[in-house]
Amino acid sequence: MASNLPGSVRQFGVALRALLFFTVLLGLAYPLVMTGVSQVVFHGNANGSIVQVAGKDTGSDLIGQAYTQDSGKKDADGNAIMVAGPKWFQTRPSAVDYDGKGSSASQLGPNNADLLAMVEERRKTVAALEGVQESQVPPDAVTASGSGLDPAISPAYAALQVNRVARERGLDVAKVQQLVKANTKGRTLGFLGEPYVNVVTLNNALASN
């Protein structure tokens, strides 16, 4: 049909038809079919592993949250300064304040002076809140995660918070420890990734208690 056109022009015609074909196949059919199948087979996962307390959606099993409260003070820009809610297990520092509409790390380098200052400040704050030595504060408590939405903390950081949460809630330490254990996940298959405590489901369990 286009055999009398120069080769390069003809190739553009083929390219256009191929691109449109693949866009329909890979850009429309593929996501629609995959979404349809996923919605049927793994409905909960496909929709964000939503977790509930008393029938109300409170978050996602996988997306971390800030368990903070208004300190009553304002920063230089007039925004409320949020501090840790003492009745709750605390998640890690976040570069996006656990805003699900974004996700980011701090991107601060290993020798960055601002990061060093922040780490030291966080160490003091956590030690004061938990009533422990600064040297007992684990690394994940003073570092921001890669996503800013990390729902998990190390078992060491959870253990550090147990006494304070039990005291603030008037619960037995053993009861809180048991809730922590129930929300601790080991490495997948025993060796993939790291063990962690899911703070979102742990705090939901506290709320339903």
């Binding site: 866009t23 996501p31 793994f42 971390g64 996700s103 890669g146 996503s147 298959l189």
Partner: protein, 553 residues
Amino acid sequence: MSDTAAGLLQVGFLLLCLAAVYRPLGGYMARVYTSDKDLRIERATYKVFGVDSKADQTWGVYARSLIAFSALSVVLLYLLQRLQHWLPLSLGLPNVESGLAFNTAASFVSNTNWQNYSPEVTLGHLVQFAGLAVQNFLSAAVGITVAIALIRGFARAKTDRLGNFWVDLTRTVLRVLVPIAIIGTLVLVATGVVQNFSGGHEVTSVVGQSQTIPGGPVAGQEVIKELGTNGGGFYNANSAHPFENPNGLSNLFEIFLLLMIPVCLTRTFGLMVKDKRQGYAILGVMGTLWAAFTFSATFFENRGAGTATQAAGAAMEGKETRFGEWASALFATSTTGTSTGAVNSAHDSFTALGGGTALFHMMLGEVSPGGTGTGLYGMLILAVLAVFVAGLMVGRTPEYLKKKITAREMKLVSLYILTTPTLVLAGASIAMGLAVARASILNTDSPHGFSEVLYAFTSAGNNNGSAFGGLSGNIPFYNTALGLVMLLGRFVPIVLVLALAGSLARQQPVPVTQGTLPTHKALFVTLLVGTVLIVTGLTYFPALTLGPLAEGL
């Protein structure tokens, strides 16, 4: 179990999984590219395209077809972004500004997936799944077609025909990528990756704060992002985001996906040149380099040097709790040794030498094991260089796979090897000379700032796409400069490889004699590992001393 034992088991399990698919997938791909039968759906497809599947192309026509297809892909992806506000599922986001749209179009068509934007606030669902994800399939397939054409250059004799680009492209998509992607999507959703069209779900937490749980057809895009060694995250945090990579299992599966095709293509290569040992030798070189870099990154991340890192007690800044140092380092080396560029942790916050390992790994030219197709042809180019060096040592005309390496072949190989370093080093130098480009650096108080710029151009020139994310790239200079570097770093080498393939295919094979250098033995593997390290080491060492080495030593 100790961290070290679990970490080593993790690496061992990954290698076991790759070993399990090596023969089946490598053999399957060899059959895909040597079969003369078209599937029924393919015959219908070729009718739509208007191509004769039996008509093999010369290298020139093959290259023009590839360039035409890629050029139109850039245009379509650019237009989709520029018009997104008026398209469905835009989530109310405005049209993407022109400089950024160019950068992103160049980035996804060149298999780089460098992202100067934050997806959550820039792109609606439609542009992601009908634009970016389509290029995740197609750019991966384009890379594979080039590798296959080069293999045919070695395998064929006395012909000027390398195969048909449209047939190779279609078969790669329909027979290789789509079937694996469908299975992989379901595996990822089973681990917790989301797959929906929601614009976000509002919840109120137990402390009464509202939060938006994001949505999107993520799993289907995530799987091809890894499988096609693309790397562009659906979310800004990429594979660190819990909805892209929810746990240790999804993490290992994603690493497996991004290594799978590049590793198995060495088997395809061995089968197609009718000497499987040649494939093992190439895989041996790739594996040696990958293992060395994985060891290096894991060691430095676990050691946790740096003032801020030591104050924290471990290199956990920018890392997810569920991954820790081991799974983060393993991901980092696998993503930079392929051309993937997906990240499950912030490379910018890695220790100086851990992050430097990722940077140097890309500088090797991404051949350990490299991107889909690009890794294999990149390594074969270096293999040609290695036999040339060996030939010089003994004063013989070098041969590789029974083809003579003459002046014409060496000119093409030399140009190939010079292209990327020129783009990377010239680009980084120009950026450091411009105040407006320096102003984008985040970590200004150490040599780390230079590392951010060097990493950006290395990533763009090698079509990787990972970043030292502190660099604010969305300014006209970086949008334009990195966009051009990505396109030139992708398509200049491709044309050179196809020209080389054309030149090799025309030759009559030379008989193997006593004097032929065996290219399947440990001696050659060592020689090739040395060639890779020396060529890239000499090229980039001065730049590395100004960045990661100055900071880390």
